[in-house]
């Protein structure tokens, strides 16, 4: 990441847990703000109740609406691309920033994932970026987001640990994604009309062999972001206290 980006980053911790619609509305608002103000934001949040999110352009026919209704699960369509994700035990991140901070779509995808991989490695996970040139699913093919990893995504032991998607609007981009802490994505298959393909996901708890908390991961991610900020700009005590408090907003 170029050093210029650090000066304008704002970090928002939002661990309270919100509905799918509320979370997507907040992320869309951050994108609009980034587009109008040129500011960059990292938001860390989660979903409550657990929520199924569909990609912006996924055909609705791919999913069994009756099954979703029967299960009574929250469901939302993201403003971003990609395919379905079950948001339950995870840290969800959103980056809204001017595209110029990264140089381009691929560069942003890699730069953001590289930061997250640094955080996950700091926790002890052998997290790396998938190297292959992106190879998207064929149109119409069923796709749980975590079924396959594309180039630049965060993997551990060959399985996908972080699933992300992006939307660009004018001069800004929104990239958000899920860092899986525990649980599974099986419910995506349960409500899909076609089974997904691919090697599947892993979780941080599985990789580390121990339970992992939202706060622990959020703290590591904020630390990874702050690596790019001059030390004089960092108030570590304030940040740590806030993370312990676990329900607030911190502005740079």
């Amino acid at each position: 990441m170029p050093p210029t980006e650090a000066a304008t980053w704002r970090v928002t911790l939002d661990p309270a847990g919100r509905s799918g619609a509320a979370n997507m509305a907040i992320d869309a608002g951050l994108l609009a703000e980034a587009a109008s103000s040129g500011r960059a934001v990292l938001r860390l949040y989660r979903f409550s109740p657990p929520c199924l999110s569909l990609g912006r352009n996924e055909p609705a026919a791919r999913y069994d609406r009756a099954a979703i209704a029967r299960l009574g699960i929250d469901v939302v369509r993201r403003p971003t691309g990609g395919s379905a994700v079950w948001h339950d035990q995870e840290v969800t991140y959103a980056v809204a920033a001017p595209i110029a901070l990264f140089g381009g779509l691929r560069a942003a995808y890699h730069a953001i994932h590289a930061r997250i991989a640094v955080a996950l490695r700091a926790l002890g996970a052998d997290a790396t970026l998938a190297f292959d040139r992106p190879s998207a699913r064929a149109p119409g093919r069923s796709g749980a987001c975590f079924a396959t990893a594309v180039g630049g995504e965060v993997i551990a032991a060959g399985r996908k640990l972080v699933g992300s998607a992006q939307v660009r609007q004018g001069a800004a981009l929104l990239q958000h994604g899920s860092i899986l802490l525990a649980g599974s994505q099986d419910i995506v298959d349960v409500v899909s009309r076609q089974p997904s393909v691919g090697g599947g996901a892993t979780t941080l708890s599985e990789v580390l062999g121990r339970p992992v908390s939202f706060d622990e991961v959020a703290s590591a991610i904020v630390d990874a972001w702050w690596d790019t900020v001059s030390l004089t700009a960092r108030p570590p005590d304030l940040l740590t206290a806030a993370l312990r408090d676990s329900a607030w907003l911190w502005r740079h």
Partner: protein
């Protein structure tokens, strides 16, 4: 190396304009460079015939490798035709951006406008080639 035909006009947002006949109807798509940057295209959302756009208005969106990007009208005009083939085979944009992967045809509002866009040399400079 991206293919940048000399007979087309380009925008800084990586759309191209292919002049048709008398210049009143132009073909619009994204450049070979743009499709390469985006990666495998999985969805293209295009307007309906009859829709009218000003220059740089968003006329649709394109999704590739999980990223959704906006498409901008290179010139002001009215949509006369939409490439329906992209619905079933959006990867045409990757395989043949200047041919079968075209997106819309526009009846231009101002015949002089396409000529004001970047020529191939200026576009090459814009993308750093």
């Amino acid at each position: 190396m991206a293919n940048i035909p000399a007979d087309l006009r380009y925008t800084e947002d990586h759309e191209y304009v292919k002049g048709g006949g008398d210049g009143t109807i132009v073909q619009v798509g994204i450049t070979d460079y743009a499709q390469g940057e985006l990666g495998d295209v999985v969805f293209v959302d295009l307007p309906k015939v009859g829709a009218t756009f000003g220059r740089r208005d968003v006329f649709g969106t394109i999704e590739a490798v999980k990223a959704v990007s906006e498409l901008y009208a290179p010139v002001a005009g009215t949509v006369t035709e939409v490439n329906a083939a992209l619905e079933g085979d959006p990867a045409l944009v990757n395989r043949d951006p200047y041919g079968a992967g075209w997106m819309i045809k526009l009846r231009v509002k101002d015949r002089a406008e396409p000529g004001k866009l970047l020529n191939s040399e200026a576009y090459k400079k814009h993308i750093g080639k």
